[in-house]
Symmetry: C2
Subunit: 310 residues, 2 copies
């Protein structure tokens, strides 16, 4: 039984963990990655106090601090939240369950999902949504990148400098990325383009071992032996698994008051999963701190939601 479970390990979630841990609350962070959207910025220079650096480096610092103060980091995808007598039960895609007295939702936007077999099961175990974060793990290995936009094309190029072989699977025959980038793609000998095709399922034991790829036109199926699957098809808000507990707005973002209270006592939210209009690392961090302090106040007998939710 944790005092607090924080879902998400971006700027909001990691800052919330720093604050709950310093209040001596037993804290777990559950996340599919560490760093969230900040990782995608290669040169962040508007986070005050640190000077310019890669977003991943900044998030690594946040992580080190959160863990240094005592947070436990659990890698996995939360897909179920239930209210219990004493708090909340959190279910993960891999079947694991955790319990907590209070919950802070800070998992931001999430990578758009393919909705295919094996995708959730192998998330963090070969399936990833961040080339910049995870490419270094695929030195001399084989991987597939899925998508047709700039992030997929640039991701494939970046990955091909490290991996031995990269399949780029795209459901159309042409790429939306800039022509000059597409030229580079075609010239790269480590990249095999698999067009008009989709990955139909991801297969493996403990980790990813292969993908089944289907040509949309011919219906022909192939298996590619790969160690990694990089899904690069954009980001979305996904609050489907908490909408029975918290109110969301028309964009499905979790509504919070100015302290991070949601409509459900004991559930707090911060960062890009809320309607905050400006998506900045320092803003997510500040709101993560508010949600954590409000969570502490609630756990120690303060009143719950401040706004009138009627």
């Amino acid at each position: 039984m944790y005092d607090v479970i924080i879902v998400g390990a971006g700027a909001a979630g990691l800052t919330a963990a720093i604050y709950t841990c310093r209040k001596k609350l037993r804290t777990a962070i559950i996340s599919i990655d560490v760093g969230g959207q900040t990782n995608l910025t290669s040169h962040i220079e508007n986070y005050p106090g640190t000077g310019p650096m890669h977003g991943m480096e900044l998030m690594q610092r946040f992580q080190n601090e959160a863990i240094g103060f005592g947070a436990e980091l659990i890698m996995g995808k939360v897909n179920k939240v239930d209210k219990t007598e004493k708090g909340f039960k959190i279910g993960l895609a891999n079947g694991e369950e955790y319990e907590c007295k209070a919950l802070i939702l800070a998992y931001g936007k999430v990578p758009r999902s393919l909705g295919i077999e094996g995708e959730e099961k192998f998330m963090g175990r070969g399936v990833t949504t961040c080339v910049t974060c995870d490419a270094p793990l695929y030195k001399n290995r084989e991987a597939v990148v899925i998508g047709g936009g700039n992030s997929a094309v640039e991701g494939a190029l970046e990955l091909a400098t490290i991996a031995r072989k990269v399949y780029l699977v795209h459901r159309r025959g042409t790429f939306r990325a800039d022509e000059i980038t597409v030229e580079k793609l075609k010239e790269n000998k480590n990249i095999e383009l698999v067009l008009n095709s989709v990955v139909a399922k991801i297969v493996g034991g403990k980790n990813v071992e292969s993908v089944e790829v289907e040509n949309i036109a011919t219906k022909e199926k192939k298996f590619f032996k790969v160690d990694g699957v990089f899904i690069e098809i954009g980001y979305v808000v996904d609050t489907s698994f908490v909408q029975h507990l918290v109110k969301v707005n028309e964009r499905k973002e979790i509504i919070v008051d100015e302290r991070g209270n949601t409509s459900c006592p004991g559930i707090f939210a911060a960062g890009d999963i809320t309607p905050v209009p400006y998506k900045q690392t320092v803003i997510a961090a500040g709101d993560g701190s508010k949600a954590a302090l409000e969570c502490y106040r609630w756990l120690t007998g303060g009143k719950g939601a401040v706004l009138d939710w009627s």
Copy 2:
């Protein structure tokens, strides 16, 4: 004519400046100090991403970044804000005036004022409210500390390690500080206790030259030749000079919506001057960023206040 004037150079104001400057808005920061309340924390370890350091060092970094991105820093005390046809006119205690299209109020709590002659005039020119910040300027010089609480007593002790002579003027005959601290005070040969007394006025030319001290009981007056006056009598919210323009709550804090809009289009606020319940550096920084981005949105033709202020 500045695009934006930011009043206050603490975490909220300096972060706002980083953001407005990066949006290429011509930005001035007007403040009586640099660092605000964060300066008072000798070991800040919950601001994510930097590791532990003195609050002053962290604020120095914020300042360097704001100035590096182009902010102008003007030292002085704002005591007048008027609406003009094109924006706002800002008046300082020293008589200087500046104009701007938009205004961000981020000056937090302010040191409680004595309300005596010379106090505002010499603010930043010998009169200061932060021993930790300014003690190093008084090496081998003479100064007076005013107050009787822990911050005054500890301030006098700190200052006495640097200054040649420190007068500690207190309106009562005993100190509220801990006995052990008061003992140290009495043993210190660089400190002269001036009890049952008040500083009646501060005198000088361009800078502080002396103070007139009056014994409350005997009405006897003395002049002490000093270079510095450290006022250490606590902090208060002071929005008296903007209440004709913006709505305040029962504690006189400036009411803002979740983006930093006040009730007056073109005026934004962030940090401890607002009702934000948790006074943390990272929260002030996050809200400073929001106010700056909302200010940019407003200056570039976005709508003003989002909340219904009726």
